[in-house]
């Protein structure tokens, strides 16, 4: 099991004003699975993504990522997990504006301690794979939205993560670019990379094997889009 989250509760604030963003959510993702999470804003899907991404820790419950219990790790350990095991893709791309595509893609490898020469080689290779071999030295403002997101995908891939977490990856893109990005994600998944994606667009979610619907901090429904042998939990509400 790639992701095993058991009875995850997240409470923001204390006392009267406390907000229960997640209420005993249990959620699992198999290795190689492609899962989409849907739900209205405030449903807790972003909170879950933050916890899955080790950017936040649950108030209670247990989160096991690829066999490692990360529920009670400290800042340094979490940073290491984020660096080695998780690749993030954001709605707003979050590229560093003053760095070239190549340099942007190199950043996660700096924190891993990869040598400069090797870093450049890997970054070049992965950028070429996502179709940007001729845009290595362009800055983000010289690239289109789809190209920027492809740089971000390359950045998510360079440390060979166990899982990719994509938060509305096509939310800021036109339909042509959206298709490109979804194709890339589908290719990556077919190469064996586990993907969890948040979206509010059902057409986008349908790329996944399974859709998990959130509401009020709880999972209300799961849809299995694979006819028979598909991954994921089969329990349905």
């Amino acid at each position: 099991m790639m992701i095993q989250a058991e009875k995850i509760t997240k409470i923001y604030g204390k006392g009267e004003i406390a907000v229960r963003a997640l209420n005993e959510v249990s959620f699992s993702v198999k290795e190689g699975e492609f899962v989409a999470i849907m739900g209205p804003s405030g449903s807790g899907k972003s909170t879950l993504m933050n916890i899955l991404g080790c950017l936040d820790t649950p108030t209670s419950g247990k989160y096991i990522l690829n066999g490692t219990d990360v529920s009670n790790m400290n800042d340094k350990e979490l940073a290491r997990i984020r660096n080695r095991k998780i690749g993030f893709i954001f709605q707003t791309f979050n590229l560093l504006p003053r760095l070239t595509a190549l340099k942007n893609v190199e950043q996660p490898m700096i924190y891993r301690g990869v040598r400069k020469k090797q870093r450049e080689e890997i970054a070049k290779r992965v950028l070429t794979e996502v179709g940007l071999g001729d845009r290595l030295h362009h800055r983000p403002n010289e690239l289109s939205g789809g190209q920027r997101q492809r740089v971000a995908i390359a950045r998510a891939l360079v440390n060979e993560p166990d899982i990719i977490l994509a938060d509305e990856p096509t939310g800021n893109l036109d339909s042509k670019s959206e298709e490109d990005i979804l194709n890339i994600l589908r290719d990556l998944n077919q190469r064996g990379i586990t993907i969890v994606m948040v979206t509010h667009d059902y057409d986008v979610a349908r790329v996944a094997h399974r859709i998990v619907h959130f509401r009020d901090g709880e999972i209300v429904r799961e849809e299995n889009l694979l006819p028979d042998d598909g991954g994921g939990s089969l329990e349905m509400d």
Binding site: L55, N94, L96, R98, Q107, P108, I110, R112
Partner: protein, 405 residues
């Protein structure tokens, strides 16, 4: 390796917003330039004062003599010619030179022209003690000393008075008997700062000659130059020890005494230190204000780049990584100011030097340690005033930072 990357990033950021960087650094540039110029001026003044004093008398001078016995009304001991060789051998490299002198006033007479001169009866090694340049001839030698040759070296003014035609060399003048002129000195340097010290009215004769004529022996003053001025006290103690070893003590005390100029020179050092402290205080306040400016701009930079910080954390940066990145940025920001300040300070120092040279003769360079000090100081300012903003950046919650617009 990470560090090199942080430094690259810092440079990219620092040069991205050139005008803001420059304005932020103005305080540091002026502060460091002021420190450089202050150090240069004090350093130059010290070198000037020392060289002027040196032109009058050697600052590493030690005078050794026997001690006066008040009860018996006589000297407890005298330093003999043999002792001079003994000290020379015993002290070896600790001393630069040793000599002996008698000094008295005598009338010099050449064919009715008379000059009342300071007679210095001494050894050839006396040349090591005063800067002497010869307009003609040379100083007397060890052979002149041994054979008690009646030879004399004349100071500039004596030669001018007795030989207005300038043909002194080889002439015989009367001191207490006929002496042949073998050398004439050129006019000595007159310091605008320190009076005295001119040898223009000195006449030099061999010491042995003087002793024979006056029927005395070993009553001269002994002058020694220490090899290391900073160690003059220890050298002096070693000389007395050597003499005590040979002559023994009287009532537990040495039969000899010695003096040196180190205390007077220490006075100069204290003035220098006080000046440095006062002026550095002013410079420190400037740099404190400049440092606060840097801290302010670092806080602005961190607010501007909140999203970047969130992203870096998502990509795997720990708190420590973020802390170091921004501290390095702050240090390099300040270092850039330091380098510009050093350049400005160097130009200012040379401007001051050129101005001073219109009045005095001065050879002095910007001391290298002031460059190192300035760099260290700016690094310190960057580190100190960078810690708080960097810690603030490191503590940012990655989720909040990522959502920051």
């Amino acid at each position: 390796m990470k560090w090199i990357e942080y430094i690259r990033l810092a440079f990219a950021e620092i040069f991205y917003n050139k005008m803001r960087t420059f304005l932020t650094l103005l305080g540091i540039i002026i502060g460091i330039a002021a420190v450089m110029i202050i150090i240069f001026v004090v350093h130059g003044a010290e070198i000037y004062i020392m060289s002027e004093l040196e032109s009058v008398l050697p600052l590493d001078l030690i005078e050794v003599s026997g001690r006066w016995d008040y009860d018996r009304q006589r000297m407890m001991a005298n330093v003999t010619m043999e002792d001079i060789n003994y000290i020379k051998n015993k002290l070896g490299k600790d001393i630069r030179s040793i000599t002996a002198i008698y000094q008295t006033d005598l009338e010099l007479n050449y064919q009715g022209r008379v000059y009342d001169a300071d007679i210095i009866a001494t050894l050839p090694s006396f040349q090591d003690f005063y800067k002497m340049s010869f307009s003609e001839g040379h100083f007397f030698t060890d052979i002149d000393l041994e054979t008690r040759n009646q030879v004399v070296v004349l100071g500039y003014e004596i030669a001018r008075e007795l030989f207005p035609e300038g043909d002194a060399l080889g002439k015989k003048i009367d001191i207490y008997g006929p002496y042949t002129v073998i050398g004439v000195l050129s006019e000595s340097y007159k310091s605008p700062l320190v009076t005295g010290g001119t040898n223009d009215n000195w006449a030099f004769i061999p010491l042995t000659n003087f002793e024979r004529y006056f029927g005395i022996k070993d009553r001269f003053a002994v002058l020694i130059r220490a090899a290391d001025r900073g160690n003059i006290g220890r050298t002096q103690a070693k000389i007395l020890e050597a003499l005590d070893e040979k002559y023994g003590l009287v009532e537990g005390e040495s039969k000899f005494q010695a003096f040196n100029l180190s205390e007077g020179i220490e006075g100069i050092s204290i003035i220098k230190i006080v000046l440095m402290v006062l002026l550095s205080g002013v410079a420190s306040i400037t740099l404190l204000v400049a440092g606060i400016g840097v801290m302010n701009i670092m806080l602005v930079i961190i607010t501007e780049r909140t999203k970047e910080i969130g992203l870096r954390k998502a990509l795997g940066a720990s708190r420590g990584d973020i802390l170091i990145q921004f501290i390095i940025e702050s240090i390099f920001l300040c270092l850039l100011g330091g380098v510009l300040g050093i350049v400005l300070g160097y130009l200012g120092s040379n401007l001051a030097l050129n101005y001073a040279r219109e009045f005095i003769n001065l050879e002095v360079a910007v001391p290298f340690w002031s460059v190192i000090l300035s760099l260290a100081f700016t690094c310190g300012v960057g580190l100190f005033f960078g810690i708080y903003p960097a810690a603030k950046a490191a503590k940012l919650d990655p989720i909040v930072a990522l959502q920051y617009e």
